[in-house]
């Protein structure tokens, strides 16, 4: 007789006793409000499993995937392979952290709340911004909510977004704005970065905000100073979508006067997870504190005068303000923010600089070596952090190249024509601290054997 997984603990004798206390004879007596025709007769799903069977079953499904521990990957484009220190997994998998919910009762949630406060503080430091919230679903929803904030704040209807912003982020942005009676306008790119002249021709006094990503989808660093100047001259808000992993080295949004900074923290201590869960962050300058979406933890004191933390400025939020809330967001991605908090504590002040340098040096080495090969050249000649695009000569089709690389245990970069049909036979590669010189040399050798 197999014994299957069962998480409902009460035994038949408990149930009998409980039904008696309730004053009914059977469970059916508790269902009298449900019209009889609606009661289920049968649900057609498979029979249950024991824990051992479950593990075997999921293991074999996991094995059907070509995982990045077995293959050396050069994919990035919004989901990044970085090293996750052991402490992050160990500490974040404490049940006290991951089996609680929103800290509505601060007296028994100081762990979560202090974690949020420290996360906010670390992200403020990294971004050089005044205020960061507890987290958003992901970088794209943070970007979309930034546009919503700007539209409301400026009472203007045009949202300008650069074509160098991640194409899937732009799709999400467009979904979020579709019913708001606003105009979403794309700014052309020039040599892999936002065209300043195109921005100049499209920005005017109807512009609520300008949305830029840096490093952008192609890995290129944007000329943010010029873009910010132009944006502010037109009294619009500047929204920077950034990769926080770059900010030990790369200029943070606060240093070029961005009004809002958003992005994704997956890179900081979270796994790729086939694209989710990842988590977004939302940062603003003080001026917008009461207009921002999402949860905020603040420090205050308890009745005995001790420092303690609580959710605050909740009148912005849906559970208080309902239809007039700044956003509908409730459950966000707290556990990932906690992981990032642990990650940033571990890497610390020096570590974020060191890891930034490693990413820069390794990716530049890879780019240089690849472009020494006949038939490969840089697609764009712009400064970059850890991603770059290469153009492959037309006699080797990119699908061919990727297929052969996979046979050598390598997962190549992203085929850019997937998102930019005008860009033919070009590949976007990401090289992080996880790639050794040996890995990169193998990639170069494999590519040279194929093209």
């Amino acid at each position: 007789m197999p014994v299957k997984i069962n998480y409902t603990p009460n035994t038949e004798s408990d149930i009998k006793l409980m039904l008696k206390e309730i004053g009914v004879n059977s469970i059916e007596d508790l269902l009298v409000d449900i019209p009889e025709g609606l009661l289920c007769k049968q649900i057609n799903i498979p029979t249950g499993m024991s824990e051992m069977e479950l593990k075997h079953s999921l293991k074999s499904l996991s094995d059907k995937n070509a995982n990045l521990n077995k293959y050396t990957s050069y994919l990035g484009a919004g989901a990044y392979e970085h090293f996750v220190p052991s402490v992050v997994d160990h500490l974040s998998s404490r049940g006290e952290f991951y089996t609680c919910y929103t800290p509505y009762q601060p007296e028994v949630s100081q762990g979560t709340l202090q974690g949020i406060y420290e996360f906010q503080s670390m992200m403020c430091e990294l971004l050089a911004m005044d205020i960061v919230n507890a987290s958003m679903y992901d970088g794209s929803s943070a970007l979309a909510e930034a546009a919503v904030l700007a539209i409301r704040h400026k009472q203007k209807k045009n949202v300008l977004v650069s074509k160098t912003v991640h194409p899937e982020y732009r799709e999400v942005l467009s979904t979020y704005l579709q019913e708001l009676d606003v105009k979403l306008i794309e700014i052309e790119m020039e040599n892999g970065i936002t065209s300043v002249s195109d921005l100049e021709s499209r920005i005017d006094n109807n512009t609520a905000c300008v949305l830029i990503q840096t490093p952008n989808f192609f890995g290129c660093l944007e000329e943010t100073e010029e873009l910010v100047e132009l944006t502010h001259k037109n009294e619009a808000l500047f929204v920077a979508c950034v990769n926080p992993m770059s900010l030990g080295i790369i200029k943070p949004p606060g240093e070029y006067d961005a009004d809002i900074a958003v992005g994704d923290i997956q890179a900081l201590g979270n796994y790729i997870n086939y694209g989710g869960p990842h988590a977004g962050f939302f940062a603003v300058n003080k001026e917008f504190m009461r207009k921002m979406p999402g949860r905020l933890a603040g420090a205050t004191t308890d009745t005995k005068g001790r420092r303690a933390f609580t959710l605050t400025l909740q009148t912005r939020e849906q559970h208080i303000r309902r239809a007039k809330a700044t956003s509908n967001i409730c459950t966000n991605q707290q556990l990932l923010a906690l992981r990032t908090c642990i990650y940033l504590s571990t890497l610390g002040k020096a570590g974020m600089i060191d890891i930034g340098n490693l990413n820069i040096h390794k990716s530049h080495y890879a780019m240089d070596r690849l472009c020494e090969l006949d038939g490969i050249e840089p697609l764009l000649n712009k400064p970059f952090f850890n991603e770059f695009a290469i153009k492959i000569s037309d006699n080797c089709k990119i699908e061919e190249l990727s297929r052969h690389l996979f046979e050598s245990g390598i997962i190549g970069g992203l085929d850019l024509s997937h998102f930019y049909p005008d860009i033919n036979n070009a590949m976007l590669l990401c090289v992080t601290e996880t790639r050794s010189k040996e890995d990169i040399d193998e990639l170069v050798l494999a590519v040279s054997n194929i093209i």
Binding site: D14, I34, P46, M49, P85, V87, T175, Y274, P277, G348
Partner: protein, 485 residues
């Protein structure tokens, strides 16, 4: 014992990280090949601590929390049930966590099969025709449902501007509808706490796009007129949206699709046992009937000749709502849960939720007012208004419960009950735990008469006492800063 901020443990030069040496050639003195204008000017003041500091700090922080693993957590409408450990293990397999969303479909057949089968399972359990697994949380699902309402009516020839929402609804409902540009019409509940059919009829007109219904509602009551409600809504050409946050007593009992629901979101972090994570990651899959399938977010999984692939082009789709495909890690946990409980276990979950909630409400009803009656589905709502005479508030009761080692129920919600205590014991608690909770509440109610001060100053046994929330909001201190510490 409180814990310092990690910044306050910082000591210059101390480190907790290790990284391999830079093994690629770097030109001497050329620390970075990037032009100056792209470089950071001021160093980020991140902590400088040792690994042991990090470990002790976050371990101690965790110990300041109540959680399902440590305490009974009857937070109404949040379904704080046990989160199976095995699901943490299986979702952590390397083929799931170390998989890139832009690997081609052939390299991802295992995960695609999981997502495909999870969708099919949710379809069967809910009686819907398709699900999108993209939404990251319940409110995200609602938002997409509201966008679909717009798309549906526009395709049928005319925009509609209003959404009807009962006054007992979760706050996310009006917030989500409002984010999509809808006007909200609030529907007052009747004296039994249910939808008032006459009021509903009066509210319906050809500008109403949808009714957002929670069933079982936030009082834990099943809308017994559900078929009539569906008819009124459909006769007016509107859609019936179900907030599926409260599904724990419905699995294998009755299916939303059979009730005339056109769209619903599920909270996998509630009914389907995935952990709440301190406030996410959750997952809020959106289910729809055939007529609404064309509007679902893209991409969607299809099965072709025994292999799975993503399909991107759907001309009527409202678009993408998330980069990549959703909170996959959460979806795997829900899949593992459903695979393990199977058809035999599915109904047992809901029977467990029903019995626990009814047992608890019956036992408490001798001691505390339960305004809408003790018979309920997954949860019930008590009221502490009669204690006002002694100067005792709902908050006092909630805080005193913490002293007894129980997380507080949801308080002051739903808004239609004065001084509400919304209690959801879930399916995974033992009878003994429920009895202990009842005993604690009886003692507290006794204390309310004999020693009200002990309630008013509660909690006493928690790491901190009551907080000055006014100060927190008036003088927001939202971050540590070097110069201030």
């Amino acid at each position: 014992m409180l814990e310092k901020l990690i910044f306050e443990k910082s000591s210059p030069g101390r480190t907790a990280y290790s990284l391999p040496e830079c093994d690629v050639p770097v030109e001497a003195n050329d620390t970075t090949p990037l032009p100056e204008r792209f470089l950071r000017k001021n160093t980020a003041e991140l902590p400088e601590v040792a690994e042991i500091d990090v470990v002790r700090h976050f371990t101690r922080l965790s110990q300041l929390n109540f959680s399902v693993d440590t305490n009974f957590y009857p937070l109404g409408s949040c379904t704080m049930k046990y989160n199976p450990k095995v699901n943490e293990d299986v979702s952590g397999y390397e083929g799931f966590v170390n998989l890139h969303p832009y690997q081609n479909n052939e390299q991802c057949q295992g995960i695609l099969q999981i997502l495909y089968e999870l969708e099919k399972t949710l379809i069967e359990i809910c009686g819907m025709d398709a699900f999108s697994l993209q939404p990251a949380a319940g409110a995200h699902g609602e938002f997409i449902g509201m966008l679909i309402s717009h798309a549906y009516h526009v395709k049928n020839g005319r925009r509609r501007s209003k959404i009807i929402i009962p006054d007992s609804a979760h706050g996310t409902n009006p917030a989500s509808a409002s984010m999509c540009g809808f006007d909200i019409v609030e529907l007052k509940s009747n004296s039994q706490g249910l939808i008032d059919l006459e009021m509903l009829k009066k509210s319906m007109d050809n500008d109403v796009a949808a009714l957002m219904l929670t069933n079982p509602n936030t009082l834990g009551l099943f809308e017994k007129d559900i078929l009539k409600i569906a008819k009124i809504v459909h006769d007016a050409g509107a859609l019936l949206y179900l907030d599926g946050a409260n599904m724990d007593a419905m699995l294998g009992i009755a299916r939303p699709g059979d009730m005339g629901i056109d769209m619903l979101h599920l909270n996998l972090h509630k009914t389907f046992s995935t952990p709440h994570g301190g406030g996410g990651p959750g997952s809020g899959p959106l289910g729809v009937v055939n007529e609404l399938v064309p509007f679902l977010p893209a991409p969607r999984i299809i099965k072709k000749n025994n292999s799975y692939e993503w399909k991107y082009i759907f001309p009527y789709s409202i678009g993408r709502v998330k980069p990549f495909y959703g909170n996959t890690g959460v979806l795997i946990r829900a899949y593992a849960y459903l695979l393990s409980v199977g058809y035999e276990g599915l109904r047992k979950i809901s029977e467990g939720a029903l019995i626990n909630a009814n047992y608890l409400s019956k036992k408490l009803s001798d001691h505390i007012e339960i305004p809408y009656g003790t018979r309920c589905m997954h949860e019930f709502v008590a009221s502490t208004r009669k204690l006002k005479a002694n100067g005792i508030t709902t908050l006092d009761i909630a805080k005193r419960l913490l002293d007894y080692g129980f997380h507080s129920p949801t308080i002051y919600f739903p808004l239609i009950v004065t001084d509400a205590l919304m209690i959801e014991p879930t399916d995974t608690e033992t009878r003994e735990t429920l009895d202990e909770f009842v005993e604690a509440l009886i003692k507290i109610l006794e204390e309310a008469k004999t020693n009200p001060e002990i309630l008013k100053n509660a909690p006493h046994n928690t790491p901190v006492s009551r907080l000055d929330e006014v100060q927190a909001a008036r003088k927001p201190d939202l971050r540590w800063q070097k110069d201030f510490s």
